[in-house]
């Protein structure tokens, strides 16, 4: 069975076996490395080969969101300069809310009156709460200088962009699979705090309410709306993103030339340079699997 020397090792030495009992195998040292060494190793089993065009199309989500954030900052700048007055801002808010609703209704497969009523109720609660709290926001940063406000806002927005969940949506439509993770919650909070800081610089209560409503609408609901569009039709998503990018570029050009160059540079970097880079460095990926791996449980541990 395990040590039958007499049976088969009369002339030829017995084959080396991968066993740890039975002491030293005759004819083989303890450091003998057989030809079967590492034969069970599997390399790069779960690695997906990427296609340049697909990666470029996927990176459009990132540049689309970047343009949305740029548009928000533009509106903030126009409001602070009083180029945009509070009534037109309120009009903008209401039209955005309305169009967002229409898009959600059109792209949702399972349309039910109950869910629509749920959305409307939530949004009205949210708006009322914001209206009530607007006076508090107005006096929040009265003692802080504008430069510090802008510095903090820009850093918070950068944090928001870094940690944002570009593939899904933090506010998930009911029935989505993944729970939001820690980084997407942090990014959402950063964007909300940035909007509060900017809104507190404004002169009147209505201004504050309109700006807060606008910023929070975009930061909370824009990912949801774009996620629904992407789910509905990829072509529509591409068209929408290209349109958004064109609009943003036009407005930024009319605002400041340097910002325009910066935005063009960032868009090219995100859409062209990064996919190419990713595909180049994928060749170096080395994933090792083998019999030494810790076994994965195939069931969920429910406590």
């Amino acid at each position: 069975m395990d040590m039958n020397f007499t049976a088969d090792s009369s002339l030829a030495p017995s084959r080396w076996r991968k066993v740890a009992y039975g002491g030293m195998q005759p004819g083989y040292d303890d450091n003998h490395t057989d030809e079967t060494f590492l034969e069970d190793m599997v390399m790069n089993a779960n690695v997906v080969k990427r296609n340049m065009l697909k990666v470029m199309q996927d990176s459009v989500s990132i540049s689309q969101y970047l343009c949305i954030v740029f548009l928000v900052v533009l509106v903030w700048i126009y409001t602070l300069r009083s180029t945009l007055n509070e009534n037109s801002l309120l009009l903008l808010d209401i039209s955005l809310l309305g169009s967002g609703f229409i898009i959600l209704v059109l792209t949702e497969e399972m349309l039910s009156l109950k869910r629509l009523w749920n959305y409307i109720l939530n949004v009205s609660f949210f708006t009322t709460g914001l209206f009530v709290l607007a006076p508090i926001y107005q006096t929040l940063t009265r003692s802080i200088s504008s430069d510090s406000i802008w510095a903090v806002t820009i850093s918070l927005l950068l944090l928001h962009l870094f940690l944002h969940d570009y593939s899904g949506s933090t506010i998930r439509p009911s029935g989505a699979l993944k729970n939001p993770n820690l980084t997407s919650c942090i990014s959402l909070n950063a964007s909300i705090v940035a909007s509060v800081f900017i809104a507190s610089r404004l002169p009147s209560r209505v201004h504050v309410f309109a700006t807060m409503l606008f910023s929070l609408q975009i930061f909370l609901f824009a990912p949801l709306v774009t996620y629904c569009i992407k789910k509905y039709s990829f072509r529509l998503h591409l068209l929408f993103s290209l349109g958004l990018m064109a609009v943003t570029l036009t407005f930024v050009y009319s605002l400041h030339c340097l910002l325009f160059v910066l935005l063009v540079g960032i868009l090219i970097f995100v859409n062209v340079v990064c996919p190419y880079w990713l595909i180049r460095i994928q060749e170096y990926k080395f994933e090792i699997n083998g019999p030494w791996d810790e076994a994965k449980l195939c069931f969920d541990i429910t406590d």
Binding site: A20, D30, N31, F37, I288, P291, W292, E294, C298, D303
Partner: protein
């Protein structure tokens, strides 16, 4: 050459009064070397009040260096801070060979590095399997590559462990020797009287943590108890997952069929083992499962998950292997119960005694 006596320094963060595989290995290895006439000194960090030089059985000198462990019994890594005391010990004891244990021990890595700086011959033994993908493993593998770049020889406890160590550290495979762990068969003898067959007792002794597959036990035990009314379980060991096992026991009302013993001291392991017919091991990763060998030495048939180095430990007629999946394990237990009548504990014990 045969009568050249060495003076060996064993280094590890893990030693008595801690109990575990590595600790027992170092202790028994030192005792065997002492019997052969070599001199052995052990270096480890202080455990609570136990600091300074102590002597153990057979004249084994242990240096408990007064450093505080900071993470899971490891000393705080200071790289050069340990050099003075290690140099003092190496010169004072006129050491000729340094033997480090366990890749996870920072003291071992630092001592190996300092010993090689001073030109000593160095041997490293790796006792566990590690992954490649998570942050902790990546860092540890980098440290291992650095430390083992110059080691004289390395020892692994199973062939799977050798493959794993060679991949992680980049050592040439010829430098790595496979020397499996051994069990003291005089301590693990089967029961004097063979147990009756009307009730089948399955013994589980392990730390109840995720790595040792305690969650698999929670799924397997109720299923087996449902299928076989004459099967009883004895679960020894303690850990964070003990609560889940207790809950499982309550939920399926198995209080009279599943006995939970709590932490079992090493001296009483044999008495727990000989009260059973089958030993169940459900770990998710093992370089070399010495618990299986102890169980086989006591004459129990083993059912285990097919992970790591476990398939190499026992021949196929003493162990039934299963995938780490509850239904497959239940199937394996069924197979074990069916071949149980053919098992003779004394014959099994004699075979295990002849293994090494």
């Amino acid at each position: 050459m045969a009568d050249l006596k060495h003076r060996i320094l064993m280094v590890s963060d893990f030693f008595y009064p801690n109990f575990g595989g590595v600790e027992n290995h170092i202790y028994y290895l030192s005792q065997c070397l002492l019997k052969l006439g070599h001199k052995v000194v052990v270096l480890t960090h202080a455990y609570g009040n136990r600091s300074g030089v102590r002597y153990m059985t057979g004249g084994l000198k242990v240096y408990y260096v007064p450093w505080r462990p900071f993470l899971m019994q490891n000393t705080f890594p200071t790289i050069y801070g340990t050099f003075p005391i290690i140099r003092t010990i190496l010169l004072r004891e006129k050491i000729s060979l340094v033997h480090g244990h366990q890749a996870f021990s920072t003291l071992c890595h630092e001592t190996l590095m300092h010993a090689r700086t001073m030109g000593y011959k160095v041997v490293f033994t790796d006792h566990s399997l590690y992954g490649f993908a998570d942050v902790g493993s990546i860092h540890m593998n980098k440290v291992l590559q650095f430390t083992l770049a110059d080691v004289t020889r390395a020892i692994c406890v199973s062939h799977t462990s050798k493959e794993n160590t060679v991949l992680r550290s980049g050592l040439p495979p010829e430098k790595v020797f496979v020397i499996p762990n051994a069990v003291d068969t005089a301590m693990f003898k089967p029961a004097q009287q063979r147990l009756g067959r009307d009730e089948i007792v399955i013994v589980v002794i392990s730390r109840l943590v995720y790595r040792k597959g305690a969650d698999l036990l929670v799924e397997v035990i109720p299923e087996v108890c449902r299928l076989y009314p004459n099967v009883r379980f004895i679960v020894g060991g303690d850990g964070p997952k003990r609560v889940r096992l207790e809950e499982m026991r309550e939920k399926h009302s198995l209080q009279d069929r599943v006995e939970m013993l709590g932490a079992v001291p090493h001296a009483s392991v044999r008495s727990v083992l000989i009260s059973g017919h089958i030993f169940l091991n459900s770990s998710l990763t093992e370089a070399f499962c010495i618990a299986i060998l102890e169980a086989a030495s006591c004459g129990l048939l083993t059912v285990s998950t097919r992970v790591g180095g476990v398939p190499e430990v026992l021949p196929d007629d003493m162990i039934v292997l299963a995938e780490p999946d509850p239904s497959d394990m239940v199937h394996a237990i069924r197979k074990a119960i069916s071949i149980l009548p053919n098992i003779d504990p004394q014959v099994m014990h004699d075979r295990v005694s002849n293994f090494h």
